[in-house]
Symmetry: C3
Subunit: 484 residues, 3 copies
């Protein structure tokens, strides 16, 4: 077998007229710093800066993109080390997990997981063998050796990856202590960024569980909110006050955004007294119907928008995913195990209340993501193309692979242009995949822009300028830091 | 800066094998006359033949594709000259409006507005500078000078643009006097067309407001209908008779089509007595529910189809757009200001009543448009591919940009072929964009056909023949002139 | 006119960098045997092995892809020989039918019918003239002469086409006698396949009419089921027992799959007593509402899945087509005449009951097809990418043309990979189109894989291996023969 390498032109268009132009554009964005304004890396990773565990613990066990594919091909989750202690068949030997993953390498062909892992293994870890049952052990040893080096600890990688800003996602009741510690320590660590007014790792306010009255843990979560905010939450007014207080704390800790993962995009407000009565019934432990809970969730999205107008936090909405499709696996393995499946999502009517109320409010910024591609050209680009407050987020989740990212550009640009987009966000919990994901996005964008140039729909200087917008300037501009 | 020019190969495929074939095909359609069977240029433009106003009044103020993009980037409508007299901040200096537009040129990158305007400015007005804050005044002066020349008056441009037929859109109560005047004057003006049996500028019957019982102005509009038709409209029978009479007048004035812009595509008829009772209640000023009004609208689409079977007017349906999404801006600025947003549209069930009743009626022709791309391959191509009466209209509104036009071909052709399409319609109120739009469509079609040739799915002679169908023969055939 | 030939590179990508790689990949799959695991060729074709009729009877009359296009252009079905005896205008001269078809050749441009017929006429029948009004008679004579040769009888063509396995579709009450006869005779006929444990032509269990309580013929069909199974069907338990018995018979006859063509994909089970009561009412001839009948159909899909867990028959689901859109034509001409139109289809919620219950059951395999492309990336690839039991079927019906097949790869692969697909199935009743369809699919797949190679997203050896999976190994693996 020849050496496993990354081709410098990977993911650039095949067409020989377009490729050199794409390469020229890509060269101008390749080394720009990474601004990662939406993701799910745990803040503890950086606060504690403990070395990453073994290769399986870094690459396989926590990555539901990866484990779901092996599950679909017949490997049960426990055989991949996933599951609570005591789960029958739970594999505890990381090398055995790694071997299963390498033996299944074929199944990732054509998927972005394959593309990202290839980038990570070759570029970051210097691997030169293609994964397979035969090469598994050699690769394992090589990656494990690297992980033991100081240069592979999380904070060091932040530098190696040229990450200028990284947003984490944090519960509304987070004490943000780790962020505050990081703000001090990373400043001195990195030198260059010490002069910045905002910290390098910033929190994102995610209140989802608090907004769904019918979730089993809702009352416990409200108690956490009350404790964290130092506010009594005995009624709806107290609840709003506590949320407002926590948002202030996030702003103070350098946060620039909220994030909302509802099933639908509905933002219809209820009359205040209706909302207050629903809240009171739920707090009293009385039954609330699913429809009432959904109406309250929609109402609270409207309230979150109203609060964003006050405090300047950018409002991110990620609707349209039915979580935990398999109830039994959810009970055994918990959330985020690959069983979240998209559904049809409606935006034109659903966002109307918020956009009519705040769509022209200067201090309001909303960024909407979708896993329903049809809505790009039909709803989201038309909406983002007129409402000043609205930006269309980057292709999300199942749509963050090369061909889907290209389709996004082709479907959204004609109506929204480039200026109404949020720029790339990686949305990942796999820290080491961040450079791979941003690099891939820059390559796809270079390819798309190159085609516009070669088709004489854009001049080259415009394409180069737009490429820098998409890779760097737009995410910075789309998530402005509120004034604490 | 180098001179701003149009590349002869613009919008042709990048691939070096396909491009020369595309160029060869495009050369055969480039100079074909324009048959513009669906659009919104005001008939008064030609009837009065007054010179166009300044550059801002021609290009910026009336074009909601353009103003919505600048609004989305923070420029309020009044700063672009849009709004009734007395609107706070209403800009009245056309040069100031033009400067704002040129300063925002960047935001149009990748949009069709950019593509069309570039064509218009360079090709029609001889502009050689790329718009920007710096070049705004020079371009303004150059365009303004041209607009003062006699060759740039509307009728002269009809000739320069090689427009063989142009359809306007007219209220059902229009007296059609301007069309009648034009039929005489344009005949003598153009020489060549004097021998034609149909006039060069033809009206289109648009009865929308009359079909929606719950619109505030409905009773006033019914009074207009009665007056225009010379028919008493005291009940449902009178209403139908008046509509029939007006359709006759449109046929007599050279009209070949009706146009219908409903929210949904439903065509389910009501029993006659139910329709008559609803009509009576609405005419009496009694409350009609939204559901009742929608049912009546659907019923009236069925009636319009039935009347088309009698009088031969082609029935055009443009559903699926939620008009005036922002209620407050609608109240201030009126309709057609960029706040119309598409919604999911269903056709398979919705069109069934009309297609079952008239889908095989020899004299009936229905052309359906969509802004919901998913329906191309799923519903509209399968329907148009079997019902003789149905033709699938060209990509419409948000879908009239290069990549969406290409997707339309790729999604619809496999099932509908080419013969079941209506050919290109520009659907524009921006008169000077008509040549740009038809030229772009011809280029995209040449590129698509060239790919079929290069992939050996079509012979070159067939591709050339099909290109002429799409550009010229199909729109003529799809909108046959009824015998008055 | 130059000779009509097939270009060796047809349907391969135009781009000069990608094409040679595509050609290299295609060469490795071109001559692989055909495994046709889902189709509608009548088993009698092979059981009786009677010569095919004239060219019109082979190519035109039974092919609703073809007749629907000519109907859409104004040729009534009877003029194409379609309709029961006595239909006004029913053409009985095959040569006249053939002439109408050839005269309409233009209308097939850009459609897969054109592509397949070209392949069949040139490759199988040696035609060298492009069809047209002028060439119709010559081609007719040439094809008719061939059809009289022994090498053009159905069984001989099975060999010529290199068909290793062919699945037919059979009613649940079929006596399977023809299959049993074929299993013996084809074994000795083909030599090579005599050693196989499964017969070469296998039945597929299609119980649709039995699962829809509200169809007029339902009680008659239940009587047929009872007779065929030798089971008394006096109640719901007897009905289930009879279905179970018939499935056993299909397994014994070499069947490997069931097939289900419901309007929606709903699989929600009813409580047993509710199902039993509904069944009893329907059997007694009492009225059952459409909603009740739909609930029973969904319930029975769940039961079919449960039975598949027992007997190992692969469960195929083909939802989302509204059959017989034109009621009057249905009454006159019967089903499968081109009037079946797709509708929006939902899978995420609809399949949840079956997937939660059996999605991880080792012996269960479900293959889902769609005519709603939006669901590839939004629902079906995400579902197939995690549930071991689920495979995503090949692009189906209106989506089996070159560009739609390419879109399928681009939309599904990123999330489902290749291993979660069923491989190509031709789903055709046009026997002679089988090699053309498989060849086309292999070309499109080669082109898609070549692009991944040229974009450095896949190595060439991986692409070649995947191409063989898609063309040959996956359909064999996706439809494993149950142990009888």
């Amino acid at each position: 077998m020849t050496e496993w390498t990354l081709h410098p032109d990977r993911a650039l268009p095949a067409d020989p007229t377009t490729r050199p132009v794409a390469r020229e554009i890509y060269e101008t964005t390749r080394d720009l710093p990474i601004v990662s304004m939406h993701g799910h890396v745990d803040v503890a990773t950086f606060a504690d800066d403990t070395p990453f565990p073994d290769p399986a613990g870094l690459f396989v066990v926590p990555d539901h993109y990866l484990t779901r594919m092996l599950v679909s091909q017949g490997t049960p989750l426990p055989a991949l080390g996933v599951g609570p202690e005591g789960t029958p068949g739970l594999e505890t030997d990381p090398r055995a997990i790694w071997r299963r993953f390498c033996a299944g390498w074929k199944h990732f062909r054509g998927t972005p997981t394959r593309y990202w892992l290839e980038h990570e293994l070759v570029e970051i870890f210097g691997v030169t063998l293609r994964p397979s049952a035969e090469t598994a052990d050699t690769i394992y040893d090589q990656v494990a050796a690297r992980l033991a080096e100081p240069g592979f600890r999380p904070r060091a990688l932040l530098d190696q990856f040229r990450i200028e800003t990284l947003a984490t996602t944090d519960p509304a009741w987070s004490d943000l202590e780790q962020h505050q510690r990081l703000a001090t320590e990373l400043g001195s660590l990195t030198g260059g960024s010490a002069g910045l007014a905002t910290p390098r790792v910033v929190p994102t306010f995610r209140p989802d569980p608090l907004l769904h009255l019918d979730q089993p843990a809702w009352r416990d979560d409200v108690a956490r909110l009350a404790a964290a905010s130092g506010t009594e939450v005995g009624d709806y007014a107290g609840y709003l006050a506590a949320l407002r207080e926590r948002r202030r704390a996030f702003v103070a800790a350098g946060g620039s955004a909220t994030d909302h993962g509802h099933l639908g995009a509905d933002t219809t407000p209820l009359p205040d007294d209706v909302a207050a009565a629903l809240f009171a019934r739920a707090l009293a432990g009385d039954d609330v119907t699913a429809a009432e809970a959904a109406a309250f969730s929609a109402h609270m999205l409207f309230q979150m928008a109203a609060m964003s107008c006050e405090d300047g936090l950018v409002m991110q909405l990620h609707p349209g995913v039915l979580r935990n499709h398999d109830t039994e696996r959810y009970a055994t393995f918990g959330p985020d195990k690959g069983y979240d499946i998209p559904v049809v999502t409606e935006y034109t009517n659903a966002l109307r209340p918020v956009l009519e109320a705040f769509g022209h409010t200067e201090n309001f910024r909303m960024i909407v993501f979708t896993v329903d591609e049809d809505t790009y050209s039909r709803e989201l680009a038309p909406l983002a193309g007129v409402y000043p407050a609205l930006r269309l987020g980057a292709p999300w989740w199942f749509l963050d692979e090369p061909d889907a990212m290209r389709r996004f550009r082709e479907a959204a640009t004609g109506t929204a242009g480039f200026s109404n987009l949020s720029g790339f966000v990686d949305d990942t919990r796999a820290f080491c995949s961040i450079p791979a994901r941003h690099d891939l996005a820059r390559r796809i964008d270079a390819g798309y822009l190159a085609r516009l140039v070669v088709e004489h729909r854009l001049d080259l200087d415009e394409a180069v300028d737009t490429a820098a917008d998409l890779a760097y300037r737009l995410p910075k501009a789309a998530y402005p830091a509120p004034t604490p």
